[in-house]
């Protein structure tokens, strides 16, 4: 493997348009770099900003959000909600100093396999140019830690005892 930077991109697709576009890209044997890994949602309206933040903070260098074209959502208008969230998220991320190229929203109908492929190629290149994000993993965090608690006189139950 060459030592050039290989970005890792998480892509969110909607079950009706963009995922089928990805399938179409496959069946028509189009080629795009292996740097993207797709997750199927029922609708871009399901896209929770948390997913994007999770991906970025867990090692992804970029996130591609895709859905049906406006006005052609199979759930009538949910992709507009995705659009609204994206536009707000983008502003927040900008303030967090994350380059806009790293999180993108692309409409792709079930027929636009080629378009999706192009967008992926473009995005991989853009992010390659930006370099890795490498978000440092949180040391610890809620409910984590070495679990070495001092012996207690009043025995608070452990997670296991509770969940079991």
């Amino acid at each position: 493997m060459t030592d050039r930077f290989e970005p890792l991109i998480i892509g969110f697709t909607c079950n009706w348009c963009s995922y089928r576009a990805a399938d179409l890209a496959g069946t028509s044997r189009l080629k795009y770099p292996p740097n993207i890994r797709l997750i199927r949602l029922m609708c871009s309206g399901r896209l929770d900003p948390t997913f994007v933040l999770k991906a970025l903070s867990s090692g992804a260098d970029g996130v591609l959000i895709t859905g049906c074209h406006p006005g052609e959502c199979h759930y009538i208008e949910q992709n507009y909600k995705a659009l609204r969230r994206y536009l707000l998220l983008r502003r927040t991320l900008a303030q967090m100093g994350i380059e806009p190229e790293r999180v993108k929203l692309v409409w792709a109908s079930a027929a636009e396999g080629a378009r999706l492929a192009e967008e992926i190629i473009k995005m991989v290149e853009e992010i390659r140019a930006l370099g890795p994000l490498n978000w440092p993993a949180a040391d610890g965090g809620r409910g984590t830690g070495d679990g070495k608690y001092p012996a207690s006189v009043i025995h608070p139950p452990s997670e296991e005892e509770v969940t079991a």
Partner: protein
Amino acid sequence: MSANGKPKFAMYWAAGCGGCEIAVLNVHEKILDVDANFDVVFWPVAMDAKYKDVEAMPDGSITLCLFDGAIRNSENEEMAHLLRRKSQILVAFGSCATEGCIPALANLSTPEEIFEAVYHGPTTDNTHGVVPYPTVRVLEGELHIPEFYPVVKTLDQVVPVDYYMPGCPPESHQIAAVLDLVIQALHGQAALPPRGSAIGAGNSTVCDECPRTRHEKKIRQFVRIQHVQPDPTLCLLEQGILCSGPATRSGCTALCPKAGMPCIGCYGPAEGVLDYGARLMTAVASVIDSQDPEEIEHILDGIPDPAGTFYRFNLAGSLLRASKPAIMSPPPAATLRERALALTPEGGEEGK
């Protein structure tokens, strides 16, 4: 157990405003129960104590430790480790310790920017441009002060935490209730909730306790509270005032909305929520009443500072925790140390 047989109580104030300490005292006569049931061994605000006294205590000898304030520097972290080692129950007390709170808003800036603002800012009279160095060698020898961290951390990002008590500060009636619970538990009259859970707060969100009337939400414009005369009975968010109530853990009895001010989210995320800001963002964005990108952008212009608004109390505890430049920047100490050497006699400056 101490000589007088009472379980030991400690409280420590790390990077925070001290409001939490006041809130504890605000429990009024309840404080007497604390004294009755606990032997207060360490509480810098309330009584004189030295760190070495704590170090001297046997591990796990403190029964209950309330830790307020975030982890801003090496001293905060050292104390966190120390108190963790010494305490059976370590409570992240208040928003700072739980999720970073206001101090963590500094995570949007790099240490350089922070130092610039603090030591060279327009409001600072610092003619010699003096900045604190972790290590300064002077003629008498080396001086040390705590090291400044590039980003503020929550307590549980440095040590395991048993319980979380949200709020900026936690409501006194909630503190009283928690103290009651612990005391009962001590007498075996009650069981403590599972480790890692939040105490002194509700399981729903602020709207649950908010008396304002609500309808389906459609937002066409965001306004700042100071620019409008809000309807006293109608949901503030429906009036375009960005209220964090829907996403913020209940427990405060919706004080702010009742007083006509929007909730700003000090009680943090609801149970099980991974990223507070994301929840608030997605909720607010979803109900914007437009399908035209241009118009949406225009409406969003009504939220001048998204990151600051959605992560006002939660930045350190969020998924990203800080802005990219901040989280990627090295501790300023590294650079500062060299300057420190330059100040020694060999460096010449000191000689004059």
